[in-house]
């Protein structure tokens, strides 16, 4: 029986069990945000990725399915050190979908593509039976300059871990919309092009966008991939007061909440201040902060020093992050 994925362990297990063996090759097996494959000329590479987007509601505070579908693919390309170039989009539209809603989504896709500096160069539309749902797939390519090697495997002891801004906004926004809770928390969905472009002047080891499964899942995966230990500090983790209150009421943990416009950067400590100032001077990066460091003590493990001085070991998100009931 399939368990609905929240980007944590169940999704990971499904990929392992069904897809990885069947499609296995040297690029796919890395399971990175985007595959980096050889380009037409010696030394050049192309980053290539695809993602499908389903969200309820399709229009939410701070964004919509269209913006989300551009940001997701653009950010995945960026995380491999690529400059995103061309995107395709495929719409699967269920009968009964609202045309005005569709227009809003498409307009937003166009605007976001412009903001991210990419062109939508091909598309497809299918209308199927159903109840008015709208699903979008985008695929994209980006160019990777010679000698750029940014990968989950590259974190090294002595590196610092920087997160680009407040966590949990998208998750809290969607959840509050679904629960019809009166709230003004907005999604953070955003293309991270500007900050990544600025960071390209520094020897960054790893970048990852902090999407479904949240910071805990992402950092645990990075610690395993790079065979290092990640240590983070609870009091450094940036969460807005609104989201913190929202989480408190529902028993949610910001460390495991999804984001759509936040990234983690791992790079040598000597470049910490420079990296922070570059990210903070970029759009969507004003709340960037260092949250911890990479060590070689316990390979593949992620520890969080808690506010009161305890140590909590974190793993990938288990289950679906449901609100508690009592």
């Amino acid at each position: 029986m399939m368990v609905h994925g929240s980007g944590g362990r169940s999704t990971g297990d499904l990929i392992e069990e069904v897809f990885k063996d069947a499609f296995s090759n040297e690029y796919l097996d890395k399971l990175e945000d985007a595959a980096v494959v050889p380009g037409p000329a010696e030394g050049e590479s192309i980053a290539f990725t695809t993602d499908s987007f389903v969200v309820t509601p399709v229009i939410y505070r701070g964004g919509n399915l269209g913006r989300l579908s551009i940001c997701g693919t653009v950010n995945d390309l960026l995380m491999r050190g690529a400059v995103p170039k061309y995107l395709t989009c495929g719409f699967i539209i269920e009968e009964g979908a609202d045309v005005e809603t569709l227009k809003t989504i498409v307009k937003s896709m166009a605007d976001t593509a412009k903001e991210a500096g990419v062109l939508l160069v091909a598309g497809d539309t299918k209308v199927i039976e159903g109840h008015g749902g709208i699903m979008v797939n985008t695929a994209g390519i980006g160019y990777v300059k010679k000698d750029i090697n940014i990968s989950s495997e590259n974190a090294k002891p002595g590196d610092v871990i920087i997160v680009s801004g407040n966590l949990g906004d998208h998750h809290a926004c969607i959840l509050s919309e679904r629960m019809k809770v009166d709230s003004d928390i907005e999604s953070d969905n955003a293309p991270l092009s500007e900050m990544v472009s600025k960071l390209s002047s520094l020897p960054v080891h790893t970048m990852r966008d902090v999407t479904r499964g949240g910071l805990g899942t992402v950092l645990k995966e990075l610690s395993v991939a790079s065979e290092t230990a990640f240590n983070i500090y609870e009091d450094k983790i940036p969460v807005s007061e609104k989201v913190r209150d929202f989480c408190g009421i529902l028993g949610l943990d910001p460390v495991y909440m999804g984001n759509e416009g936040k990234m983690v950067t791992v790079l040598p400590k000597e470049y910490e201040e420079k990296a922070l100032s570059l990210i903070r001077s970029s759009r969507y990066g004003e709340n960037a902060v260092t949250i911890g460091e990479v060590t070689d003590d316990d390979k593949g493990r992620l520890f969080m020093k808690t506010k009161i001085g305890g140590v909590r070991e974190l793993s990938v998100l288990e289950g679906e992050g449901l609100p508690r009931i009592c």
């Binding site: 029986m1 399939m2 368990v3 362990r9 169940s10 297990d13 679904r178 629960m179 028993g251 943990d253 969080m304 020093k305 808690t306 506010k307 009161i308 001085g309 305890g310 140590v311 909590r312 070991e313 793993s315 288990e318 289950g319 679906e320 449901l322 609100p323 508690r324 009931i325 009592c326």
Partner: protein, 348 residues
């Protein structure tokens, strides 16, 4: 009040007699792990996670009943998310949802009224599980159903109360020297309800909040009071001696105390609540759901809930039993003892 550093030092360096402190609130179990508290305590202080997660203590017959109600196409089962994956004697609600039956998740019981008005031809059955904290919400739901004349909503209840199960644990040799008393429950009941228990068993109760510092302060107070039958309120911003009398009143209007079966533990006299006879039209058949079969015979949820076994010592723990494939209810809920130990990699 001592300062936090002194409290932390005391708890870490405590070298008195061994002490087992049980928390009977799932949110405490979660908060303890999230704050990294186990590693801050002396090896002589042990935290036990008790029967404080409503989903975990719901017997298999209750899940089976919901599943059998879902067989009727006119019925829609409505529940909180956590309950979906709890195994009955064979299947879970999630399994039958996968078979195409109507099982829906809501965040608030009051949402069921909106659902029921959209489809008046169907009967919406709310899986009403919970402790003293959640029961007032069900009472308010009933009040609303009556006031608005909604007739196509029913409750299948598995409501539990804390003091009786605490007595049951103590009378059945659970190795407990103190209780970290539940903060949320106490807001409704008041901390006064623990006084007779503290006196009878000669052990301290400390009502605690859910922040790291609040937990440490309460644990410090509890350890200091070892062997004394006292109740101390370490959550005075929210909890009073008498609690929320209005909430108690509305509970009493719609519910009556009854016996209740706790998963793995059997019948605990007077530890439950059921809808009063005059409102029985709203009850989907909650009486007599006493059978409690294990999906896997080796599951030790019962011993874990009573503090007689640590989750990691169960032969199934982390092997065939994990959050994706839970064998017992304690591995399902976020607040379940086994789930919390597993995701937080607790080894204490």
């Amino acid at each position: 009040m001592k300062d936090l550093e002194e409290i932390k030092k005391y708890l870490k360096e405590y070298d008195g007699p061994e002490m087992n402190i049980m928390e009977v609130c799932g949110s405490h179990t979660e908060a303890v792990a999230k704050n990294g508290i186990p590693g801050m305590l002396s090896k002589k202080i042990h935290l036990l996670s008790g029967p404080g997660c409503p989903v975990c203590v719901t017997p298999s017959a209750y899940i089976d009943k919901l599943i059998s109600l879902s067989e009727d196409e006119k019925n829609v089962i409505v529940t909180f998310g956590d309950l979906l994956r709890v195994p009955g004697s064979e299947l879970s609600l999630n399994d039958v949802k996968g078979m195409g039956r109507r099982v829906e998740m809501v965040y608030s019981p009051l949402d069921i009224i909106t659902l029921s008005k959209k489809e008046p031809e169907r009967t919406f059955i709310f899986a009403a599980v919970g402790f003293e904290t959640t029961t007032p919400v069900y009472a308010l739901l009933l009040e609303k159903l009556i006031r608005e004349g909604v007739r196509n909503v029913k409750l299948l209840t598995a409501l539990k109360t804390m003091p009786e199960v605490i007595a049951y644990l103590m009378d059945n040799d659970a190795p407990i020297d103190a209780f970290l008393a539940p903060g949320h429950v106490s807001t409704v009941t008041g901390y006064g309800i623990f006084k007779p228990l503290a006196t009878r068993y000669g052990i301290p109760f400390g009502v605690a909040g859910f922040k790291g510092e609040e937990l440490l302060i309460a644990l410090y107070g509890i350890v200091k009071n070892r062997g004394n039958g006292v109740v101390k309120n370490y959550y005075p911003s929210v909890v009073t001696e008498k609690g929320n009398e209005k909430a108690e009143e509305v509970i009493d209007r719609y519910f009556i105390k009854t016996d209740a079966v706790w998963r793995g533990m059997g019948n605990v006299p007077h530890s439950g609540r059921m809808i009063r006879d005059e409102f029985k039209d709203f009850d989907a058949g909650s009486e007599g759901l006493t059978e409690d079969k294990k999906k896997n015979k080796a599951c030790s949820c019962d011993k874990v809930l009573m503090g007689k076994m640590k989750p990691a010592d169960c032969p199934l723990y982390g092997k065939v039993c994990n959050p994706l494939n839970p064998q017992g209810a304690c591995m399902v809920s976020q607040e379940g003892s086994c789930f919390s130990y597993y995701v937080n990699k607790r080894t204490d």
